[in-house]
Amino acid sequence: MWYYEKKLQYPVRVGICNPRMAKFLIEQYGGADGELAAALRYLNQRYTIPSRVMGLLNDIGTEEFAHLEMIATMVYKLTKDATPEQLKEAGLGEHYVDHGKSIYYHNAAGQNFNMGIQSKGDPIADLYEDIAAEEKARSSYQWIINVSDDPQINDSLGFLREREIVHSQRFREAVELLKEEQSKKRVF
């Protein structure tokens, strides 16, 4: 069962009125390695993954929806006060014609989210898929930071990038937990 809490995980701020940034940020909303992809991937894998790591997949999957909301907030703030002319100049003309001022699950190139996620049913394959997903998301945030001039957006992107690092760390730990021999108890 999901409950919603009416606050963002992190205080998102956008300092500069530059709708073009929305075009780049949307990559992490509806892109193949974005937050939606991550949430759907982990929440789907959690049904059949070994119980030892079910909690982790459940919780990271849930946190990804909070990140999705942060990206949506940035895109919303950048586009809600733009005229159609300004959206056209920002390279968002095609988006506007299809979706008006609403947000949508597509990537920076305009390709709709295409469910390019995997659930192989093999816990090791799935966890390595998840580690790879986190490293790819981390990379995306790095590239978006590289094209952004807005220190406040970069602040939120830095937070989200560090979350990917921590998630990657946890998935790697999950692999270690599954590698453990059943008879031996892990002692720290």
Partner: protein, 78 residues
């Protein structure tokens, strides 16, 4: 203490149309080196944790745009 950014220089051909960009960096963040997180690692305060994106300084890997100085170079060239 491991570094979180490594550099390499790609091959430059005399036939390349554009001036070489110079050494390329890639990130090697902490999760590559840490192993299973040990107990009792030092923690940030809640505010510092929120700002950094993690509760533990030992899990923090900063990132800055590696092209920033390049951009300044290009801007001053006019």
């Amino acid at each position: 203490m491991s570094t979180s950014r490594k550099w390499y220089t790609p091959y430059v051909s005399p036939n390349d149309p554009c001036p070489p960009l110079g050494p390329i960096s890639y990130e090697t963040p902490v999760q590559l080196y840490l192993g299973f997180q040990p107990r009792g690692m030092e923690q940030f305060s809640p505010f510092e944790a929120l700002t950094h994106g993690t509760l533990w300084p030992g899990l923090f890997t900063p990132y800055t745009n590696p092209y920033l100085s390049k951009r300044e170079e290009l801007n001053t060239d006019g």
